[in-house]
């Protein structure tokens, strides 16, 4: 399924990441998954939060540049090989995965967030292959 991810521009200076996480926590925004893409010059912080819109407000208030972007979320068995199935389905369809990151869901399930070259088509393909959508608890 397609869900909203928070993308945050981070200047390469210590403290911004901590500050962002701290503010979200204080405002009761729960971070489900997080990744940091880092270049020598800047970083992009990507977050899956339970309340993305509220998360955006909180981070904007800090003076950060934030954008809500679409990513695919897939729920899979938290066992070896779970991720391989997803990647091979997309690979066969010629869809590139630009980045992905995972978080442990409830029980033995893991939630994978994926950015691909074609979000809509990737979503359809994964549904066709019977990939499970994350349950509300997985994202809560």
């Amino acid at each position: 399924m397609v869900i909203k991810q928070l993308s945050v521009f981070l200047e390469n200076k210590p403290g911004y990441l901590l500050c962002a996480a701290d503010s979200l926590a204080k405002n009761g925004v729960n971070i489900r998954a997080l990744s940091l893409a880092d270049t020598a010059e800047f970083g992009i912080l990507r977050l899956i939060a339970d309340r993305p819109e509220e998360g955006r407000r909180v981070l904007s208030d800090l003076g950060l540049v934030v954008r809500l972007t679409d990513v695919l979320a897939v729920s899979m068995d938290d066992t070896p090989g779970g991720m391989l199935t997803v990647l091979s389905c997309l690979g066969e369809a010629g869809i590139n995965v630009e980045y992905m990151y995972a978080s442990s869901g409830s029980g033995r399930r893991a939630v994978m967030s994926l950015q691909t070259s074609d979000t809509a088509r990737a979503d359809a393909i994964l549904r066709e292959h019977g990939m499970a959508e994350p349950s509300p608890e997985d994202l809560a």
């Binding site: 991810q5 993308s7 521009f9 893409a37 010059e41 800047f42 992009i44 990507r46 540049v65 630009e98």
Partner: protein, 436 residues
């Protein structure tokens, strides 16, 4: 190609230098006799008027400055008795006290000629209706161009600036063929005319724009929107007013009327004359002005002369558009850099909508200047894609290099992280003072 004064506009190099030398000697002599400030500076420098034999001795003479006009306000720099002064112009300036300049009958006639030369060169004459939307009054724009337009026999509409609806109506009703105003006002008029959808009812074919800096991009836009040819005119009231230098049909630099004005480019820090073609501070010496002669007047405009002969046939040297003011100029690794150039690059790279907030940081490390441009990130440039941001950053870097001729390190920073004072962003952080 029509000339207003063919003989003087096409003097050979040798004839020009001879004429300039005669006139320089005369100007120095008269100024020495009549202007106390100049006489004192000459005496302090140990230079006698007769030490100046010709243009080759120009570099010996002391400079004059805008502050002189304030220090000797109102008439202390006038070189003729007030009985001979027939006109005054003044400007308040954005900083400090106002300044005043005066003109004799001959001065006004020479001023008219300078502008008449330009108008004739760009094909404006008796058949034209010239709408002068420069401000009239103490500002030199309105009356300056007015005299020149009348001199070529055109019909003059002395409408002055302001009241846009009336400007457009007048243009239509009176069939104006030439528009004279500041380029920003021309742009505004063009937009209003577009909105009203009345361009077809205009007879405009030529524009004479000046009194403020404008870019080639702006020229192209004004020309396209109004369907005219737009020409640049340069001048400052301390030296005379608009018409010190004027474009010709080639639209590639403004001819400085060298039989009336000597032009130099100097290094603003050392005061040394720079070779032709190099960029530095523009300095003028008047050769024929009577009431208010200027000798080596420092304009604070940074500019470059174009020594190559112009295709139009006029022999007088051309100057490029001033690149900026010496007050704003930074010298980084020996190259002149203006904040305005960086602004232009940022505006272009970010799609021409809004200029991102930025700051220039210059420092010196191991005897070398470091040059960094910090650009504030904003929602409109941010994407979730690392490569897109890197591309944005790289395009700024490349454009800066090709515009400035030196490399800058571009750093993207968080919004609102650059220091502001009184709401205005501080554009330059120069940390080099005292460092070797």
């Amino acid at each position: 190609m029509p000339y207003f004064d063919e003989k003087n506009e096409t003097l050979s190099e040798e004839q020009l230098r001879k004429l300039q030398s005669e006139r320089l000697r005369e100007t120095v002599r008269r100024s020495y006799e009549n202007v106390e400030c100049f006489r004192r500076r000459m005496d302090e420098a140990g230079i006698r008027p007769e030490d100046v034999r010709g243009v080759e001795d120009l570099g010996k003479l002391p400079f004059s400055y805008k502050s002189d006009l304030r220090d000797y306000y109102p008439y202390g720099l006038f070189a003729v008795p007030m009985e001979q002064v027939v006109r005054l112009h003044a400007s308040s300036g954005t900083t400090g006290r106002r300044i005043v300049v005066g003109y004799t009958e001959n001065d006004l006639s020479m001023w008219e000629e300078c502008i008449a030369r330009m108008l004739t060169a760009i094909g404006v004459g008796k058949a034209d209706v010239v709408q002068i939307s420069f401000g009239y009054g103490l500002f030199t724009g309105g009356f300056g161009v007015h005299g020149g337009a009348q001199r070529v026999g055109a019909t003059v509409i002395p409408i002055s600036s302001g009241n846009t609806q009336n400007q457009i109506r007048t243009m239509i009703d009176f069939g104006a063929t030439v528009l004279c105003c500041t380029p920003s006002y021309a742009m505004y008029l063009a937009e209003e005319i577009e909105k009203l959808g009345v361009r077809d009812r205009l007879k405009l074919r030529v524009g004479v724009f000046g009194a403020e800096p404008w870019s080639e991009k702006m020229r192209a836009e004004i020309e396209a929107k109004l369907g005219i040819k737009a020409y640049d005119i340069y001048g400052l009231s301390e030296v005379m007013g608009p018409g010190v230098a004027c474009e010709c049909p080639e639209q590639s630099g403004m001819h400085v009327w060298e039989d009336h004005f000597l032009v130099e480019i100097i290094d603003p820090d050392t005061g040394r004359q720079l070779p032709p073609g190099e960029s530095g501070e523009l300095v003028f010496t008047s050769l024929t002005k009577e009431a208010f002669p200027v000798i080596r007047y420092r304009t604070r405009d940074v500019c470059r002369l174009i020594p190559e002969r112009c295709r139009c046939g006029r022999t007088h040297i051309r100057m490029a558009k001033p690149a900026g003011r010496t007050d704003d100029m930074l010298i980084i690794r020996g190259v002149n850099v203006f904040p305005s150039q960086i602004e232009e690059v940022l505006l272009a790279v970010s799609g021409g909508e809004i200029t991102p907030n930025y700051r220039i940081v210059v420092d010196r490390v191991n005897n070398t200047d470091t040059f960094e441009v910090e650009v504030e990130m904003s929602e409109s440039f941010f994407s979730d894609n690392v490569r897109m941001i890197e591309t944005f950053e790289r395009r700024i870097t490349e454009q800066l290099r090709s515009t400035l001729g030196i490399g800058a390190k571009v750093r993207l920073v968080n919004p609102n992280s650059l220091e502001r004072s009184e709401g205005k962003a501080k554009r330059v952080l120069d940390l080099r003072a005292g460092k070797i």
